[in-house]
Symmetry: C2
Subunit: 246 residues, 2 copies
DNA sequence: CGTATCCTTGATTCGCTTCAACATTAGTGG
DNA sequence: CCACTAATGTTGAAGCGAATCAAGGATACG
């Protein structure tokens, strides 16, 4: 199912220069004089229904995507059926960077809710990046931050125990919601326990138990996917205070 | 492992255009006509003694590094002392990409043996990348592959069991040695059991036991850091054949 | 409103960690 | 060059944290 719908309302809702996600996205840090040229970048927008893929492993790589509305997960599937969720992405974040190296995508990007992305032709991006210095630099920053983020996840998976991982996950989500102008203490998680578990290297039951335990401790209030953080520094302490296990 | 030492005659030993690690490194894929210009890239070389850092967390970011001889590990330290090794790097591979996003390095890069790196000024690289299209693209590829590699590690840490992780690690090392013209079946590991363990999210004892078990099974011959792979497809089967656990 | 999906909780099992002792290798200085 | 010592690696026994198995409950969606 391919739903590559271009902008609908006439004239309205231009591209980068009018986008409110500006400072989270690729165009950040570009000189005012160059901003109009950015609008060349986004050749179209595309709507993805919940549970549908934006791209799949082995799809040929042509564009990267900036999330305009909604959210996604990326995952890698092993031949024997095992799934590893490698990340959750929110508005303003970039998808598809995995494809540059091999010319094909190396993971699946699945919408967690009905979503909309800006399609950024990679060829065009490279072209513009050669002309607009700020764009080049910002793009490199986005890639670099992705690498750093991944190192954080490796830390999580490699040397934290179950409850520490979940605490780190919640704090990370909280911080990212806050960066988008939403509440840092109360939010709705679009992913299932199983997806959280896969991301954190845990089984869904363990995730569920950890949620319940945090609630018993008065750290959070949780009801299904609704989360309210009551003691964020309690969660923070959890991460650093516990003795090493692995 | 004896590194492929380049010509040492004085004056000689230029930079990229004469380097035998060419096709593993940044300059790969650049038009012949542009190759001479690459030599501007490497402003100097630097020697790092075993156990010494090439850079440390919070060092200000100025350059990226291509390994000319030797090998490194990168690691992230948590405040409570826990260490997570995020990667092992061999000749021709690039270090320092983590620093672009934040202008400071976010991990430590430590030499596993006496090593030598080419220092690539990041400013210069951006400049040249704007002029040499192939360089720009190759640089993006290097970053993208780093992201993909990290996803592989997340898969490893998140959904494989101990022996699968070690098998995947050995096959990966084997493949990388082979790509550098060394034996794929017999090599010397520069890192300790503890470092392997940290990388794989395991304790050193578990790594040691897994090595011993592989030997009992006739899959490898192991004596301390010397490894000989006897049945590489046996190791491969191990990764995919075992039932899921996590 | 019914049904599939998702979540919670309990009991049991198992893989890896932890603790401990010893073996081997590498590095140092007399 | 060898004795000495620290660092690294191996192996065994016991404990624990998370997985597995299982059942019931809540929620969302068509």
């Amino acid at each position: 199912m391919k739903a590559t719908v271009p902008i609908t309302l006439p004239g309205l809702r231009k591209t980068c220069s009018q986008c409110n996600l500006f400072e989270l996205c690729i165009p950040f840090g570009i000189n005012n004089s160059d901003i109009p040229r950015l609008d060349e970048l986004v050749c179209m927008q595309r709507k993805i229904k919940r549970q549908q893929p934006l791209y799949r492993t082995n799809d040929s790589f042509e564009a990267i995507y900036a999330i305009r509305t909604g959210s996604f997960k990326t995952d890698v599937l092993l031949e024997d059926g095992r799934e590893q969720v490698t990340g959750f992405q929110m508005t303003g974040e970039i998808l598809g960077l995995d494809g540059i190296g091999t010319e094909v995508h190396t993971c699946n990007a699945i919408a967690l809710e009905d979503s909309e992305v800006c399609v950024i032709s990679y060829t065009k991006l490279e072209e513009l990046a050669r002309v607009i210095e700020g764009l080049q630099h910002q793009f490199h920053k986005v890639m670099s931050r992705e690498i750093v983020r991944d190192h954080g996840v490796m830390m999580l998976l490699g040397s934290m125990r179950a409850e520490e991982r979940l605490a780190a996950f919640l704090l990370n989500m909280s911080q990212r919601f806050a960066a988008r102008g939403f509440s840092a203490t109360e939010f709705y998680l679009r992913m299932t326990r199983e997806e959280i578990g896969s991301y954190l290297g845990l089984k869904l039951e363990t995730v569920s138990r950890a949620f319940s335990h945090f609630q018993e401790e008065g750290l959070i209030f949780v009801q299904q996917k609704h989360i309210r953080i009551l003691k964020s520094d309690g969660l923070r302490k959890l991460i650093l205070h516990q003795a090493s296990m692995r």
